[in-house]
Point group: D2
Chain length 178, copies 4
């Protein structure tokens, strides 16, 4: 889970969020943006490109908190629009069943996922995106990878916090893991 | 499973198909056509309307065989185009995981599904349809129902062979069963 | 979601929990205890029986919060042991993928689920239980129902907060909804 | 899909099966036998060890045809007993929803799965096994691997026909793919 600053006003002041993060699991959504062909088969996976203060390249899925009184599918739409822009045309799945649950612990090694800031439990969805993606916020770019490229060690090592594993789980779920 | 005549040329002559039906489970796909809103939530379910030789109304899902050397997603597309016309714009799911398996037995009571002609095992998918549906073949019409209407006794009793149960399973999977 | 008092010490004092409940979605798990036959088919569903202060009978699934730094599967085990006793021998599924997500809102009508206390998002699992169940805490009894009984109007109306709908979704998922 | 001889009497004579294999997709089941800990987490994966006429080692999942008038869960049980012996105590999942569909084509490259004999479509399930496994038939042994070992190149290259990919999909589904 990349180091995303929530810019959408939430229901918690920053210090309250910090306090709660130390006491409760925080509910997240992770979305894997994909391009599909006419038969619905995944052809490409979109990853956000970020460059850290130290110049280090990292890649991330679309990810963020679910707010109080917000439906999971509205949280997905909000984060997709925030990260991919207003004309990405994401198709949030009809079923609320996530393809997996990613449990990000502040302690490493309990699960494949890690978030030093908090214990976050994320509902993970694959979201076909039909429109034009224009990353906003702190992402430099959205880069489309073939399934082979996405599961390559090169891309995997650029995905911190276990999101590379989550990406491989998504590829496995859509039958594109080689 | 409605009494559909396969018009697409298959790899089996009719008498060979009859012979095989008595010896092997036949692989089918069932598609539940749905309309979704911008957040992906199902608003309507499309059911094919047929009138039997005795004037009896029946409603059916999109359903049919998978042919030799045909991918499951291509079989879905073929049957959707056959039943909904060429501009229905179906969005076959990215994942090959069906929401359930419907086992239609020639003997009643083994499962909720029944097909007097054969033992068919059907992979069932929910398929959002964005375009204009123009039923072809032996269906008179495609009628859109709200989730409430679709699970009502009135509609359920018009769906033979257990397809009413399969429809309710689809509604449950998308979180629209009341 | 029944009115369960958390007796396991959590990481939040009661007043802090109240404060957080007004600000954040709270992560829950729902478990549907089932008996299965040798082929894995569900034969019975277990529901907790409670009698309210007004003498009103209600039935509930096993349900409760996920605590800070607790894995989802450990939360499931903890609530199953709390509600079914120490020798129930629950078989928590190998896959973390829930069969659905139940979004309980404090406002009615947004989803089929409702919890006046809070916005809770619950990961729902079907859990075969092989051992002897001895309800503890505030439940009087655990009663086993056939799939037909469990989806009957009689049982459904005794399940508040939309848990009857969640139960029907579970039955649909295991192929036992008639 | 390993080269398994069906010893259970089927409804097709061998030459009829050959004929049908050239004309229809054949319905299969694939089972991934796993050991789980008390919390349901997968600790080991069981693979059948076979040695070919040329002395070549290969490893396989439990796999085989679904017969006419046989339920999918009964086919799973039959193949599990055939390959793991009578006291393996397999726990066939309560839900008929497979974690994926593996489409084995006689032509290579259409999907990750390949079977030179036929077009087989396999419903794939993860099956916890609690008892003692004693391979029968043509398998020499059942060997238990950790999730890390099972997805290693060494094991993967010993699994023909794309079953290594299917195994990785199973590991992804249970959250054990690293």
């Amino acid at each position: 889970m990349a180091d995303i600053t929530e810019t959408t006003p939430g229901w918690l002041a920053p210090d309250e969020l910090e306090l709660t993060r130390a006491r409760m699991p925080i509910l997240y959504v992770d979305a894997v943006p994909v391009r599909v062909d006419d038969s619905g088969e995944v052809t490409h996976i979109g990853l956000l490109l970020r460059i850290g203060p130290d110049g280090k390249v990292s890649r991330a899925l679309v990810s963020g908190r679910v707010l109080h009184h917000e439906r999971v599918r509205d949280a997905l739409l909000r984060h997709l629009e925030k990260d991919l822009g207003p004309v990405a045309l994401p198709r949030v799945p009809a079923s609320p069943q996530p393809f997996t649950i990613a449990e990000y612990f502040p302690t490493q090694g309990i699960t494949p996922y890690h978030d030093p800031r908090q214990h976050a439990v994320s509902l993970a969805y694959i979201v076909p995106v039909a429109g034009d993606c224009r990353p906003r916020q702190d992402a430099l770019d959205l880069v489309w990878f073939s399934p082979q490229e996405a599961s390559s060690p090169l891309v995997q090592q650029e995905m911190p916090g276990g999101q590379g594993v989550l990406l491989k789980q998504a590829l496995a779920h859509v039958g594109c893991l080689s």
